[in-house]
Structure formats: structure tokens, C-alpha cells
């Protein structure tokens, strides 16, 4: 007791420390989604002791190279600047699986930030099943469903994200003034969780899409069993999405999510964020997505 009293009395007022400020650098956030336009968000980093800088960066030059050849200088989107940065976009090019991409962002007064990655190949979804199991024990208003998902993993280190939705309603409606119609869907985004304890770690990481690597099935056919809870089990249609991620993007997703999930916890270990931008910060990566609808079995 006396020792505790001494400690309390002995506690000094906190001292303020000063750190040298690291120089401001460009931040690039650019994720390539195969066959879709490129979007790159540019912003500036700040020292941890400064206030955030939401400056609109209108004077940058953002170049994209495909297999070493300059394919496009991105256009500056003057209509849109989100807190995440000023948007630059492609007009003619889209990411293609198997191609290596490099991005450079140059702005007067700053070092040129650059990065590159290999756009992942498309991975076909194989056999898919979903079975309705029964009421969930913890949340009886929901029903457990179980997915079995197969796909063939190529040799080498690969990274994936699996996602699924449950279609609750779908209706075609006419687009006014045209002869076209569009499909309206309402759906429930499912929170997938691995059943196999070997993958247990992955279940904690992401909100609903679940990310993992191929360490347990490298170069083989992966057969994954996952569970989820649905509200309307009588609706039978589901869609499964498989995203083949670039390694840096996978690491970025994992570390950004983990940092967010543990912020404010004084007992958590710090999380080192993935950063693959040379002379800058952020992420340049990509994914290639395949999807497949399926009907539930009872």
C-alpha cells in the first residue's frame, strides 16, 4: 500500500516531447480492378504532430505504365475531391490480368512518388454449393447457411478475398426514355467465416469479405467451407465473389483493417501499415474478380 502511495505521489506531470517533422510526401491510393477504369486519389502526408492537410492537388502529373510502356497520363477530375484525396482517372486504359503496372505521381516541390505491381490473373470459380443448416444458436432470428467453394490455385504465392451476397429481391425495370431495362436487386451482404480452425485467424480480420492466402493449398484445388447467417432462408439465390488480390493490396487491406480495429486499445500492439509507394505513401495494387450465382439446397 505504501509503495502504491509513493508511486502516486512520485508521478511527475507528463513532459511534452518534440520530434523532427518528416517531410511531406505525396500519398497515392490506387487499386486496379480488372477491365474497369483506373482511379487514383492523391493527397499529402502530414507529420503525426500536425493537423491533416486536405489540400486539393490540381497540379500533379499522374502517369501509368503497362509492361514498361507509358500508356496514359491520368485526367484530373475537377468535379470531385474527396477527403481521401484529389481524384485522377484513366480515359482509355483499364487493368488487364497478367500485366505489370507502374504509376508515377509528380508534383512541383515534391519527390516523384512511384510504385508498381502485377495485376493478378483471373481465377475461375469451380464447384459451389450452399446449404441451409438451421437456426443460429446465438441469434435465433437468423439461419445458418454453409458454403462449399472450390477453385484451382496457381503455383506460387497468391492472395484472395471471398465475398457473398444473398439476393432478397430482384426486379427488372424499364429505363425511362429508352428501350433498355435494368435489374434492381436488394441483397444482404453476408459475413463469411471459415469453419476450418486452421483459417480461424482470417475470421477476425475483415468485416464481411474474408481475405486469406494460399499457404494451405498452394498449386492445388482449394475446397473451402464457410458459414454465414441469413435472415430470409426461403430466398434461394446467392452470389459468390472471388477476388484474386495482388500481394501488396492484401497486406494493405489486412494492416489498415487491423489498425482501425485496434485503435484506442492501449493494450494492443502497434500495427505497421503496408506501404508500397517509393518516395511517398499509400497503396498501388489490384485485384481481378470472378463471380458466380448459385441456388441453395436444403
Amino acid at each position: 500500500m505504501a509503495f502504491v502511495v509513493l508511486i502516486v505521489i512520485g508521478c511527475g506531470a507528463p513532459e511534452i516531447l518534440y520530434l523532427p517533422s518528416p517531410p511531406r510526401e505525396l500519398v497515392i491510393n490506387c487499386i486496379g480492378y480488372s477491365y474497369h477504369p483506373w482511379y487514383a486519389y492523391l493527397s499529402l502526408s502530414s507529420s503525426i504532430l500536425e493537423r491533416p492537410d486536405n489540400e486539393v492537388i490540381h497540379d500533379a502529373t499522374v502517369n501509368l505504365y503497362e509492361d514498361g510502356v507509358l500508356v496514359e497520363t491520368f485526367a484530373h477530375d475537377t468535379t470531385m475531391s474527396s477527403p481521401g484525396g484529389t481524384r485522377y482517372y484513366s480515359v482509355i486504359s483499364t487493368p488487364k490480368p497478367g500485366k505489370r503496372y507502374k504509376i508515377t505521381a509528380a508534383r512541383p516541390g515534391f519527390p516523384t512518388a512511384e510504385s508498381e505491381f502485377l495485376q493478378p490473373d483471373s481465377i475461375a470459380l469451380g464447384s459451389l454449393t450452399v446449404r441451409v443448416i438451421g437456426p443460429n444458436v446465438t441469434f435465433p432470428s437468423t439461419t445458418d447457411v454453409q458454403f462449399r467453394i472450390e477453385f484451382t490455385d496457381p503455383l506460387g504465392e497468391d492472395f484472395y478475398e471471398l465475398d457473398a451476397i444473398h439476393i432478397l429481391d430482384s426486379t427488372y425495370y424499364d429505363i425511362p426514355g429508352t428501350n433498355d431495362s435494368s435489374l434492381y436487386m436488394s441483397s444482404q451482404d453476408l459475413r463469411l467465416a471459415f469453419i476450418d480452425p486452421a483459417y480461424e485467424e482470417n475470421n477476425d480480420l475483415f468485416f464481411s469479405a474474408i481475405a486469406f492466402n494460399d499457404s494451405y493449398f498452394d498449386g492445388k484445388t482449394a475446397t473451402l467451407d464457410l458459414t454465414a447467417q441469413v435472415y430470409e432462408p426461403e430466398k434461394k439465390t446467392y452470389v459468390v465473389y472471388l477476388r484474386h488480390l495482388s500481394k501488396d493490396y492484401y497486406n494493405y487491406l489486412k494492416t489498415v483493417y487491423l489498425q482501425g480495429a485496434t485503435s484506442g486499445d492501449p493494450f494492443a500492439q502497434p500495427v505497421l501499415l503496408e506501404n508500397n509507394i517509393k518516395d511517398g505513401y499509400g497503396i498501388f495494387g489490384g485485384f481481378t474478380q470472378t463471380k458466380k450465382p448459385l441456388q441453395a439446397q436444403n
Binding site: 508511486i7 508521478c11 482511379y39 502530414s46 491533416p52 481521401g84 464481411s208 469479405a209 482501425g260 500495427v271
Partner: protein, 249 residues
């Protein structure tokens, strides 16, 4: 997951000798360590939904340096000086991008000086001074905005899944990238002893951390709308104490 027991090998070479009233020793050492463990990024001590084995990484480490020690045992004044120059590092495939980093207790300099002066047969004065290089800590240096990643998933509902919806993130260049300020402290004492036939009385007055050094305990980011600062909290400032003891013979 099962982990192998930790193991290490240590090589040391040293020399010791006596010069007048002084005993002197010098030693150099190298130690490598295997199957050492360290918490993963983001692992939290309070979470009970994971086995501890899932919260740690297994890797290797090394430690090397030299130690110098000199001691005087005779005379009115006696005491010793110890100095260690050392490096202690760790490497884990899944931490710090697989690169070596200084261990939390990596201390480049460690100095201890202790002395006692016998004023009379019954009265002695003592002093101890310690100095350590500051502890290595992991601390962010930069922050920036990460884009809403769902913006890159352009076909509607499939993108809402990853839960990474944009916001400020903190960037830390490496594990244990920052040093706290050095730890040093002076302790003083005065002891008066009365020796009787069957027991002795001892009166002691001491000052812990005599010059009231605010040694670092932990660092935290602290801020409001106008300013963000790094605050260093300290424990146990200048602490006087008095003691009385009886020693039976």
C-alpha cells in the same frame, strides 16, 4: 500451433585481474537466440477469443557487446563501476517486413556506479548512479488519408465487404523506431549503526532519485483540435525514506 523451445548459444571471452586495490574485468560476448517469440502486430493482451499461440510470432535474435567492471573492496572508500556496451536485435518473417529491428530492451549504454564512504566505524554514506540508453518503442511518425477502398469496387454490393471505408491512418516506418529519453537516477543514503552485544540498530536515511529525474515510463499521442503533442509519462520522482531496523546476531 506448437512452438519449439527457445534455445541460444553464447560465446564469451574475458580477462580479469587485480591492480593495487582494484579488481578489474573485461568481457566480450555474442549470443544468438532461436524460437524467441514476440507479439504480432495488433495483438491485444485483453482479447480472450484467441489462444496466446495465435497472438505471437516465432523468430530469432542476437545480442552482442562488451562489459567492463572495476571494483574496490578495501579502505574507507569502496565501490564499483560497471559499463556495458551492447546491441540486441530480433528478426521475424512476419514482423517489420521481415527485417531485423532493435529489441525493446536494446540498450547501447548501461552504466552503474556505486560507492560507499565510511566516515566513522558506525556511520557510512552511500551513492548509486545508474544510466541506460532509452528504451526502444514503436511510434507513428506520419499520418495520411487512405481512400475509401469500397470506391474501387465498382459493381455495387460486392464492395461493401472489406470494411475499409477510408479515414486517417498512422504510418510507422519500423518496429521500435523511436528511443525514449535516457534513464538515469542517483540514489543517496546515510546509515548509522549501533552495535550491541546481541543485536545491532540501524538508522537509515535515503533519497531515491535524488535529482528528481523524470524518467520515461511510456509515451502517448495527446491532442486537441489545435495541437497534437507527444507526452512522456514518468513514475517515481524524488522519494525520501527513513528506516530503522534491528539485526539479531
Amino acid at each position: 500451433m506448437d512452438y519449439l523451445p527457445q534455445s541460444s548459444r553464447q560465446f564469451a571471452v574475458g580477462a580479469a585481474g587485480t591492480w593495487n586495490d582494484f579488481e578489474i574485468s573485461v568481457e566480450g560476448y555474442y549470443k544468438d537466440m532461436h524460437n524467441v517469440i514476440e507479439y504480432k502486430d495488433g495483438a491485444t493482451y485483453l482479447s480472450t477469443n484467441q489462444n496466446w499461440q495465435n497472438k505471437v510470432e516465432v523468430g530469432r535474435g542476437n545480442s552482442y557487446g562488451s562489459e567492463f567492471f572495476i571494483q574496490k573492496k578495501v579502505g574507507k572508500f569502496n565501490g564499483w563501476v560497471g559499463y556495458t556496451l551492447s546491441w540486441t536485435n530480433r528478426q521475424f518473417d512476419n514482423l517489420n517486413h521481415g527485417e531485423w529491428f532493435p529489441y525493446r530492451y536494446d540498450r547501447r549504454h548501461d552504466i552503474k556506479i556505486a560507492g560507499t564512504y565510511h566516515l566513522t566505524k558506525n556511520f557510512e554514506l552511500g551513492a548509486v548512479w545508474v544510466y541506460n540508453t532509452g528504451q526502444a518503442v514503436t511510434f507513428p511518425t506520419v499520418f495520411y488519408f487512405t481512400a475509401d477502398l469500397t470506391a474501387f469496387y465498382l459493381d455495387g454490393n460486392s464492395g461493401s465487404g472489406n470494411g475499409v471505408n477510408g479515414g486517417y491512418v498512422q504510418y510507422t516506418p519500423s518496429r521500435n523506431n523511436l528511443r525514449m529519453t535516457a534513464y538515469h537516477r542517483l540514489d543517496l543514503s546515510a546509515t548509522y549503526t549501533i552495535i550491541k552485544e546481541k543485536f545491532s540498530h540501524e538508522f537509515n536515511l535515503s533519497l531515491y532519485n535524488a535529482y528528481n529525474r523524470k524518467n520515461p515510463y511510456y509515451l502517448e499521442l495527446w491532442g486537441n483540435q489545435k495541437q497534437t503533442t507527444i507526452r512522456q509519462a514518468s513514475l517515481i520522482a524524488l522519494t525520501p525514506s527513513i528506516s530503522y531496523s534491528i539485526n539479531l546476531k
